[in-house]
Amino acid sequence: MQQREEKQLEAAVESLISRVAHVKNALHSFIYKLENEYERLTWPSVLDNFALLSGQLNTINKLLKNEKTPSFRNQVIIPLLLSPDRDEDLAKLTELRVPVFSHEIVPDYLRTKPDPEVEEQEKQLSVEAARIGPEVAQKQIQTLNKLCSNLLEKLNNPRDDRDAESSAIRQNKPSFNPADTNALVGAVAFGKGLSKCRPPGPVAPGHPGQGPMMSGGPTLQQVTIGGGSNQQAVMGGPGAPQQPGQPGKMPSSIKTNIKSASGSMHPYNR
């Protein structure tokens, strides 16, 4: 009887050791990948690594729950000899992670109870659970299950009618107005609605008789657009004082005195 249990214990510990070694290798390669290849890492491959670790932890759990496994709770590990000296064999065995079997490592490596903070949190949780009562707890469990299943269903079955409803809602609220577009484009392109001097709206070209500001002169003539040769323009430009025309009184061109005079006094000019 004793022997069988011993054999079982030994076998269980062996398989546990091998499983844990697998987890350790997976973690090692994952950490290496994260540290050295993080530029090339994609989210799916990170998820794969996590899935691998999760699978390995699952097998460990199954192993521990296995009926052939004796209960490890009944086993106690008591350190027989603690020394602050470096132990080469231990160091080799643990890949230099535990070089010394001393008082410092005992609380970490031989721990059987959870950490004090974790214990505190667990106690709080169990108090909370006891407080709300079994019916309330059951109802909460059911609500959670329903929410999860709804979410899973929505994620797994993309429905086309769902898209149609949402697009119909969106169409009811137009986000732009073509009239506004035209108004803005008109304002940017030629100042529609911006100049205060001209009457609102575009002014038709070719209106003679505009421009009240004219200093006195002997032969006052307003030459509208369409007259005058290039030569006249050149003469009128640099030489004559320009009338400070109203900004925006388009397009009646108010010629200067000199130009008007020459226009009227030399009818044979070409």
Binding site: F176, D180, A183, L184, V185, A189, L194, P202, G228
Partner: protein, 209 residues
């Protein structure tokens, strides 16, 4: 006096004839946030850039034909930056199937004495406005979402009044003349902004009347 050909003008520093491809649309104030989110996702990853600009449009009236228009723009948020002077030609009427408005474009930087210089040259300021908003880039494409404000007292950029309750959205590309590949990219980008904004080719001359 017809406006002289752009290639004949003494443009220093390169005489490449640049064309501007333009698509315009507008979006309500309420939809602005969603548009900005979408643009932040679609466009190049950069710090969201806002701008406040004051644009003055100068006209040189000839005896005949259309007046010559120059646009002077300065930044109100960076007052020490140089002024920006731009000439935009008439939209090219060519290919009806071309998806964007194409027009000749000349851009130069200028010093802060630009308004006085233009006045001395004979230009008169026709209108001015203040534009502020956001600017995004995607490759060669530039997307500007701006709200335009009318200046109530000439020269006073503090006292402004909004022109409309919408923001103007413009998608533009500057490319050398002859390169027509951009309009396809612009059209596919514009598709991605529907139905929030409809970016389309709006001919300004059709808006006049």
């Amino acid at each position: 006096m017809e406006a002289p050909q752009v290639t004949v003008m003494p443009v220093t520093g390169g005489t490449i004839n640049m064309m501007e491809y333009l698509l315009q649309g507008s979006v309500f104030d309420q939809a602005l946030e969603s548009l900005l989110h979408r643009l932040r996702g679609l466009c190049d990853n950069m710090e969201p850039e806002t701008f406040t600009d004051h644009e003055l449009v100068y006209l040189l009236k000839g005896q005949q034909g259309n007046p010559f228009i120059l646009r002077a723009r300065r930044s109100l948020s960076h007052p020490t930056s140089p002024w920006h002077l731009r000439y935009l030609g008439q939209p090219e009427v060519g290919d009806k199937s071309r998806h964007a408005l194409v027009r000749n474009c000349v851009d130069v930087a200028a010093s802060h004495s630009l308004p006085e210089f233009l006045n001395e040259m004979g230009f008169r300021m026709d209108h001015e406005f203040v534009a502020n908003g956001h600017i995004f880039r995607k490759g060669a494409m530039k997307i500007v979402v701006s709200k335009l404000s009318r200046i109530l007292v000439p020269g006073n950029t503090e006292n402004t009044e909004r022109l409309s309750l919408s923001f103007l959205v413009e998608l533009s590309v500057l490319a050398p003349a002859g390169q027509d590949t951009m309009s396809e990219d612009m059209r596919s980008f514009a598709e991605q902004l529907k139905p929030l904004v409809h970016l389309e080719k709006i001919d300004p001359s059709k808006q006049r009347h």
